[in-house]
Amino acid sequence: MKYALSFILNDLPADVLVKPTDTLLDVLREKLGVVSPKRGCDTGDCGACTVLLEGEPVRSCLTIALTVAGKAVETVEGLSQDGKLHPLQQSFHEHYAAQCGFCTPGMLMSAKALLDKNPKPTREEIVEAISGNLCRCGAYEEIVEAIAAVASGRGKEQGR
């Protein structure tokens, strides 16, 4: 049986027909063409599918799509505005924080959730915020530095 699902995706309404067991990740990638969230493990372990639900980070692979009805979902597709990268994206670029890039969307969304609530986090708080995002290239140092640079205002694209 299919059910009509309506939610807010990156500030725009999204309407789609889904099955009860479809996850938010299934719906984003396969029905809505929103492919920044990556299917790494499908069991919640890797963090590559992390999106924001009502501003809080969640695993889209563990989120039954129908439970987000009426709620706001944010993905990397909603980060850049008017063709301009989000400060976190710009900083990741400048700090070589993406190596193969597979973990990057999850890292960005975990980092955004942190900075939205805590604009001046300590290094420990940054590490804690991305503790559920695996980077198998091992670019953690660059990723932490990229986030720290935005927090401290050292990113080049500030003030947006």
Binding site: K19, T23, L62, T63
Partner: protein
């Protein structure tokens, strides 16, 4: 195979009726962090999904000095709650250490208990604090002490169609401590976890609770070890003896996270450390 159906009720009465109607076919969905991997990876095919996240069971409050937590309250909310920190600090600590932020946002206290993992992190502090579960079905309500709730890995006394509604924690006497050992700091299941509560009167232990997780088919209380402490003063040699006694009541297994051999040794050391902390002994 029949097409699956989904119900996202907003009224408790309707949800309870549905659960009663479909009984074993109904799969209860809350945060999904334990259920959805079973669907994605282990090919579980639920016929009826009943989502309970809109039933108003997301609350933390105090009533008649008891701390009441609704079953769908998230681990993130428990970890951040000032009331939980004040009334049940060990529970807040267990929630804070569970998974990672994206898991804690979704995972619920009721789900952590209903899933009945031997490694469920919230179970041990709740056992140490004599928590009770309020269960509801179309046959009515009943209250079950958490110590009588688990019956095996993934198994509980929940009947088909029965729902955990609320977790009640009586005013905790004495100091409660939760310690967890995992393979790493975040996003890891416990190799072993312990929660202890010591109620001291003068220099003597009046009452004690010892709960251990991930070292037996269910999280469990170690009653004989608790008895050893009563009427005795805080003492490292006693705590060491007590920890050996507690581990004798456990039955750890080898798995991908640790061997039984390691769990016994680490569990004994972790428990002795937790007891020393609860008694206020300085770090060695």
């Amino acid at each position: 195979m029949k097409e699956a159906m989904y119900f996202g009720e907003t009224e408790m009465g309707k949800a309870i009726k549905l659960l009663g109607q479909y009984r074993k076919k109904a799969v209860i969905l809350a945060g999904g962090t334990d259920l959805v991997p079973k669907i994605n990876y282990y090919k579980l095919k639920p016929e009826i999904l009943v989502y309970i996240g809109k039933l108003g069971l997301d609350y933390i409050r105090e009533k008649n000095r008891k701390l009441l937590i609704g079953a769908t309250t998230s681990m993130a909310k428990i970890a951040a709650s000032k009331l939980v920190a004040r009334k049940a600090g060990a529970l807040a600590e267990a929630a804070r250490q569970a998974g990672t932020s994206a898991i804690r946002t979704a995972a619920t206290i009721g789900g952590n208990l209903a899933n009945a993992s031997p490694a469920a992190d919230l179970a041990t502090p709740l056992l140490a604090m004599d928590a009770e579960l309020l269960l509801r079905s179309d046959k009515g309500k009943r209250t079950v002490p958490l110590k009588d709730f688990f019956t095996g890995p993934g198994k509980t006394v929940l009947r088909p169609g029965e729902l955990i509604v609320e977790i009640a924690i009586p005013p905790a006497k004495g100091k409660t401590v939760f310690l967890k050992l995992g393979r790493r700091k975040a996003m890891t299941l416990s190799v072993v976890n312990v929660a202890v509560r010591l109620e001291m009167g003068g220099k003597k232990c009046q009452d004690a609770r010892i709960a251990m997780g991930s070292v037996a088919p269910t999280p469990l209380r170690c009653l004989r070890a608790e008895e050893l402490l009563k009427g005795r003063g805080p003492d490292r040699a006693l705590f060491a003896q007590c920890s050996v006694e507690a581990m004798a009541a456990c039955n750890p297994v080898d798995d991908q996270r640790a061997t039984a051999w390691y769990r016994r040794r680490a569990g004994t050391a972790l428990l002795a450390r937790a007891l020393a902390q609860a008694a206020g002994l300085a770090e060695e």
